[in-house]
């Protein structure tokens, strides 16, 4: 049992886990993730059985990848939380242990004086011991790797929460209308437009969020990189679409109606005669003899939109290509084809409170932890009338610096201990 525990808390186990995560990550980028089984059968005819059996098609959500991450968390808990006691204890008597070290670099009495002046100038703390002085700097640096490991644990845990707890839903909504979410929160879309910035399209919606308790956000434009966050909601400009638009006038009573056409539909009063709307094409090509080829996809604005419709009048079906501005009369109904309307696809993300704040906190902690670990290394320098010794977890930098500044005669550590 103790052996198992020791293994679980060992750095060796941590290293093995990191290697495994690395290997699976490589596989997860070499084999495209998240496609259908048929896709793998087609692209990996000889290996698709293995890919499906080992879930190499969705490696990052496979049970074994999650087990490795859980084990890494366990290992991190052990190597950070359990080590903190020994780190604190070691930090407590580090000066005394440094005082017991042999002198490694011999200096002249003037050299020693210059060294002590320098150590004071760089704000080292001095402690008088029996036959020497121990100078120290960055004692808190001892806790750097503790902070780092703890923050990695926090990043994994809060990161998992931030990835899996939020609810994300996509909505389409025309300008001038609104989307009402389950809890009564309303997202109003005032305007949508596509900006064409030197050939690179940018999509922008002008929106406002009103929460179920009546509080409203500011009204502003959202676009890529600039979502609108309010309450637990964040609304993103996700996609856009283009729909047909017709004005239908009834000649019998003079009434008219504007209609949006975003799917195949039959517009009719009696269910017999009327207009079948089939599709809206963004553009067309016309050859010299007048034949028209419809273009089915473009990015951005529809340059030359064409409506593909069927006129149905008393059982006679006539296919028609109609252009914005044109009118088509079918019995007593007049259909006027308008310029298409562009509308946004909004992504609404609802995140439980505190998760994002916790995640950002753990990011900051991790950066700070690494900074302290690497750039605030604790150093202890024993100075006696004969010379000095620099010690600490990574004393190399201080040793090189002092050796550059003060030279001195280095005594071989091995010789000294013999």
């Amino acid at each position: 049992m103790k052996k198992l525990f020791n293994f679980l808390r060992s750095m060796r186990f941590g290293i093995i886990l990191l290697i495994l995560i690395g290997i699976f990550s490589v596989i997860g980028t070499v084999i495209p993730q998240g496609n259908s089984p048929a896709w793998y059968a087609e692209n990996y005819p000889s290996a698709h059985g293995l890919i499906m059996a080992l879930r190499l098609n969705s490696i990052f959500s496979s049970w074994y990848f999650i087990v490795i991450l859980v084990l890494l968390c366990v290992n991190l808990i052990f190597c950070s939380l359990l080590r903190i006691r020994s780190v604190t204890k070691a930090a407590g008597d580090e000066s005394v242990r440094t005082a017991l070290l042999p002198i490694i670099v011999r200096l002249s009495p003037e050299g020693v004086q210059a060294l002590e002046d320098h150590l004071e100038a760089i704000h080292c703390r001095a402690e008088q011991m029996a036959a020497c002085t121990v100078y120290s700097k960055n004692r808190f640096g001892r806790y750097g790797s503790f902070i780092t490991h703890l923050s990695i644990l926090l990043v994994i845990l809060t990161g998992a929460a931030a990835l899996y707890l939020p609810q994300v839903k996509d909505y389409t909504c025309y300008s001038g209308s609104s989307v009402v979410l389950e809890d009564g929160t309303r997202i109003e879309v005032f305007d949508f437009h596509i900006e064409d910035l030197s050939g690179r399209l940018d999509y922008s919606s002008n929106i406002r969020i009103t929460l179920s308790d009546g509080r409203s956000s500011e009204q502003r434009n959202i676009k890529v990189n600039y979502p609108l966050a309010f309450g637990r909601y964040k609304v993103y400009q996700q996609t856009y679409g283009t729909a047909g638009s017709v004005t239908v006038t009834n000649l019998d009573n003079g009434g008219s109606d504007d209609m949006i056409l975003d799917e195949k539909s039959f517009l009719s009063l009696d269910g017999v005669s009327g207009l079948w709307y089939l599709a809206l094409y963004p553009d067309y090509l016309e050859d010299p003899s007048g034949n028209i080829t419809l273009v089915s996809s473009v990015t951005g604005h529809y340059t030359n939109p064409v409506y593909e419709v069927i006129s149905v009048s008393d059982g006679v079906y006539a296919p028609v290509l109609a252009f914005p501005g044109e009118e088509l009369q079918i019995n007593s109904l007049v259909f006027r084809f308008n310029e298409p309307v562009e509308y946004p696809g909004l992504r609404v993300k609802e995140t439980p409170p505190f998760i994002n704040a916790m995640l950002i906190f753990s990011f900051v902690l991790m950066t700070a932890g690494l900074y302290v670990t690497f750039f605030c290394e604790p150093v202890f320098i024993k100075v006696s009338p004969e010379g000095y010794t620099a010690a600490g977890p990574r004393p190399e930098r201080m040793r090189m610096d002092l050796s550059d500044r003060f030279g001195g005669f280095e005594i071989d550590e091995k010789e000294e201990s013999q």
């Binding site: 750095m11 941590g14 290293i15 990191l18 290697i19 995560i21 690395g22 990550s25 490589v26 997860g28 980028t29 495209p32 993730q33 990052f60 990161g159 931030a162 990835l163 994300v168 910035l197 030197s198 050939g199 690179r200 399209l201 940018d202 676009k223 890529v224 990189n225 600039y226 979502p227 964040k234 993103y236 996700q238 992504r347 993300k349 994002n356 995640l359 950002i360 990011f363 991790m366 950066t367 690494l370 900074y371 670990t373 690497f374 750039f375 190399e396 930098r397 090189m400 550059d404």
Partner: protein
């Protein structure tokens, strides 16, 4: 502007040729000339970056050319800073060609200035990509220190003190690079959430940044183990450079994902 870039490129190339000739024939004067030309190239490189930034009216870090160009500049700056501050002249014969290699890659990329695409217009752009330049440059020069260690340790009467310095310098550069790669990944996550709504999408570029990060975390831990020997760690640093290159260039060319920007 192209002329300025190729002048910088030519100066780097000349300095590397002189460095090799000087080393081969043990001519100190040539080595000195190589070094001054390299520093001049680096200064002119900075001018090129500033001019490009001014004419593009943004940070010149947006496409493969600009990133590679900044990466080469970063490698050159690290070479100069480290060899001056730590008196590590021995680094030059490996680090200078490394900067030239990255510069060559930049020279092979399309150079025209394009407007920043909407997805990249964000305050995070500078933090994320700037940190990546710093991290990659530090790793590449750490790999150079590793390679220099491997070469030096083959000699029978290798200078122990110098080997220690090479090992430590590699480590020091990794700590610097590791901190910045962490900033790259974390700022990337925050940015991804602003742009695409999810902090992490397992996009190939993200995953390779994570793999690179794991590799250097392994290095840091292996170095803590008393059993690991310095030669092994030097090889580790050198080989890790290929992973950095792959994350930087290979992922964009060989894998498809959200990070494929023009």
């Amino acid at each position: 502007m192209k002329a300025l870039f190729f002048t910088v490129f030519a100066l780097y190339a000349i300095s590397v040729v002189l460095q090799f000739t000087g080393t081969a024939f043990k001519k100190d004067k040539l080595l000195k000339a190589a070094w001054y030309i390299f520093m001049a190239a680096c200064a002119l490189h900075l001018v090129f970056i500033i001019v490009r930034g001014i004419s593009a009216k943004r940070l010149p870090l947006s496409n493969q050319f600009e990133f590679a160009n900044a990466f080469a500049f970063g490698a050159a700056v690290f070479t100069i800073a480290v060899s001056m501050k730590m008196k590590a002249g021995w680094l030059r014969s490996v680090a200078m060609p490394m900067a030239l290699l990255i510069m060559t890659y930049a020279a092979l990329q399309p150079m025209e200035i394009k407007d920043l695409m909407p997805a990249l217009r964000s305050a995070w752009f500078g933090v994320h990509i700037g940190s990546a330049v710093l991290a990659y440059s530090a790793f590449v020069i750490a790999g150079s220190a590793g390679l220099r260690y491997i070469i030096a340790s083959r000699k029978e009467n290798a200078d122990e003190k110098m080997l220690k310095q090479m090992d430590y310098l590699g480590y020091r550069l990794v700590t610097f690079g590791f901190l910045f790669l962490t900033v790259v990944i974390l700022s990337g996550a925050i940015w991804a959430e602003q742009a695409w709504s999810a902090f992490w999408t397992w996009d190939p570029k993200e995953v390779w940044a994570l793999i690179t990060w794991i590799i250097y975390a392994l290095y840091l831990h292996l170095r803590l183990r008393r059993k690991s020997n310095e030669r092994f760690l030097a090889w580790f640093l050198f080989i890790a450079v290929f992973v950095v290159f792959f994350t930087f260039a290979g992922v964009n060319t060989l894998m498809h994902g959200l990070h494929t920007y023009g």
